[in-house]
Symmetry: C2
Subunit: 351 residues, 2 copies
């Protein structure tokens, strides 16, 4: 008995069968209170730490945890305030249900990343999409695991999702900027094309953007500007290499120095927009900048943005996963968004 005792050892020591010990832990109503007490005492004496979670999982066919998948690096997820709030919401819902949250890091190597998803001992997955995730969904389907995504998908079918109307939300903030008279506009997003360098980028049409969320937002921006006569090809497209203030600052560096610089800059996330403000410094007063998400720092920075309910998104995603509603239609949730106008946008200056 040099290693940890098992349920069998407790049974032997207590002079009962394995099943009875198991029942002592998991089904107290199946044995007399006296025997149960005796068994638990014996277990304590032996230093038995209770049923092995893994063995229990295997037999019961339930893991007691749900996975959370960030298609960007896991450690980056914690630097993104929106992702953190999403996690907070998910954690709250998981907490209420007594479920744990398994954060699965994805190696950059594709094969290893697949393996990571294949090896996760969970009952389902929350796929927080930050990049192309379809391979992950394929794995999950093959495993027969339920999952929830955080964006409407074309091939959604019965798979639950919770998201916002990205295009309409983006349009609302761009409408505001257009109404202020801006016509020379730059759009800033993360990984417009995977692997593209930071800074200006040419793209024939918005449909070419692979990442669905980014595509939706850029399309919304374009809609609003098209409505005031600004064509897609007249827009400056700026690429950021990741979703961070630094990347936002880098992406915009040098942009406002050319002749006829944009008078407004619409970013696909607050973090990028805040980076732009960092980079502009004093010049920020001459350019209108908008973000997306309404993270905590946006208010202090006076950033005009679109608010979306972050914690709510995490909470609902988790709930959809843990008990999906019977009617398929109820599995697709669109959350409301709200344009928040602050001081970072103003009418186009007369020159």
């Amino acid at each position: 008995m040099t290693s940890k005792p098992t349920l069998q050892d407790v049974a032997t020591a207590a002079g009962v069968s394995r099943s009875t010990v198991s029942n002592a832990y998991s089904r107290p109503d199946q044995l007399s209170a006296a025997l149960r007490t005796r068994i638990l005492d014996t277990a304590r004496q032996l230093g038995y730490p209770g049923p092995n979670p893994t063995a229990r999982s295997l037999r019961r066919g339930v893991a007691g945890a749900i996975g959370v998948l960030f298609t960007s690096q896991l450690s980056y997820a914690f630097t993104d305030p929106f992702a953190v709030r999403f996690l907070a919401g998910a954690a709250g819902a998981a907490e209420r249900r007594g479920t744990s949250l398994l954060l699965v890091p994805l190696p950059t190597d594709t094969t290893q990343a697949r393996a990571a998803v294949e090896n996760a001992a969970v009952d389902g997955f929350c796929v927080y999409c930050a990049a192309d995730e379809s391979w992950a969904l394929d794995v999950l389907r093959a495993r027969g695991l339920p999952f929830v995504t955080t964006a409407p998908r074309d091939d959604a079918g019965a798979d639950p999702y919770v998201g916002i109307d990205e295009r309409a939300a983006a349009r609302s903030v761009a409408d505001h900027v257009a109404a202020l008279g801006h016509r020379r506009v730059a759009l800033l997003a993360e990984s417009i094309l995977p692997g593209a360098p930071p800074g200006p980028l040419r793209l024939a049409e918005v449909g070419d953007v692979p990442h669905p969320t980014t595509r939706g937002r850029l399309a919304g921006f374009a809609d609003a500007l098209a409505a005031v006569g600004v064509a897609w090809t007249d827009l400056t497209l700026l690429n950021a290499t990741d979703n961070s203030r630094a990347a936002g600052a880098t992406a915009v560096a040098g942009t406002s120095t050319g002749d006829d610089p944009p008078t407004a800059l619409l970013a696909c996330s607050d973090v990028l927009a805040l980076g732009v403000l960092d980079a502009l410094g004093e010049r920020a007063a001459t350019v209108s900048v908008t973000g997306f998400d309404d993270v905590a720092d946006a208010a202090a920075a006076g950033l005009t943005t679109v608010r979306q309910p972050a914690e709510e998104k995490g909470r609902i995603a988790t709930e959809l996963l843990l008990d999906p509603p019977p009617e398929p239609a109820a599995r697709h949730v669109l959350l409301p968004t709200e344009l928040v106008v602050r001081t970072s946008t103003r009418p186009v200056p007369r020159s």
Copy 2:
């Protein structure tokens, strides 16, 4: 075959033994390349998603995940910027090692909380202490699971920990405040006594504070003030119900209105200190306030504080867990701290 196929099904379909299929996945060198390809093809045709992670864990005796324990509510952890940075560090280290992170929520009910720790299928635990955690450590010891705590403990023994010299760090910031001439000082901390109401609190001596981190910091504050002749009993002790800006604001409400109000307020965390600044509003210019941690918002708020390396703490905790150094001494890591003086502290005003 209505449900998911198992390894046995693949074996049958391919006309080989279970072991061979297992080897095809886990030990490619044990069979010919041709057969392996054939097996994997068969598996694909059958829709076999690869070896079941739980069964594999059971047999191999390895979970491939480490648990993270917050003794406060899990969803609160995400509202604490320091905890988030700790997690980011932990995630980075886990990522590098191909390990997942299991966030285990703790129900408020003690029995259920024990069960949650007992049921976690992990190879070890990072205990991020936010409250009394000794019961959790007992469970972990009973399970024979390795763990790391984030504070020096009296009974540390060979259990690894990573922390800072709480007392010395706290003393450094209090020394600074004392040097500025402050003598009427209030100390603010979360849960000084569990369940205590927000606001002023009487406590015979600092040793009565149950939570070790808080106790260490308060003791450090007291050390510095004692050195300039201010006794423990002359200090105002303010309790906050949790670690949030709101709780900081609530705790301090009404304090500065009495006669002889404190001229300085030392908080045990930046979040609390920022809450104090929120509450003071205009009056903030007349009181010196300090925090602890140096979170992102501290710089913008001009908060004088003590910086401790958050990500580093998470990273090292995870690394100590994943490969503990052979020499016991190396398992106890003390990280450096640094006093960061900003504008929230100034000499005591002449009246």
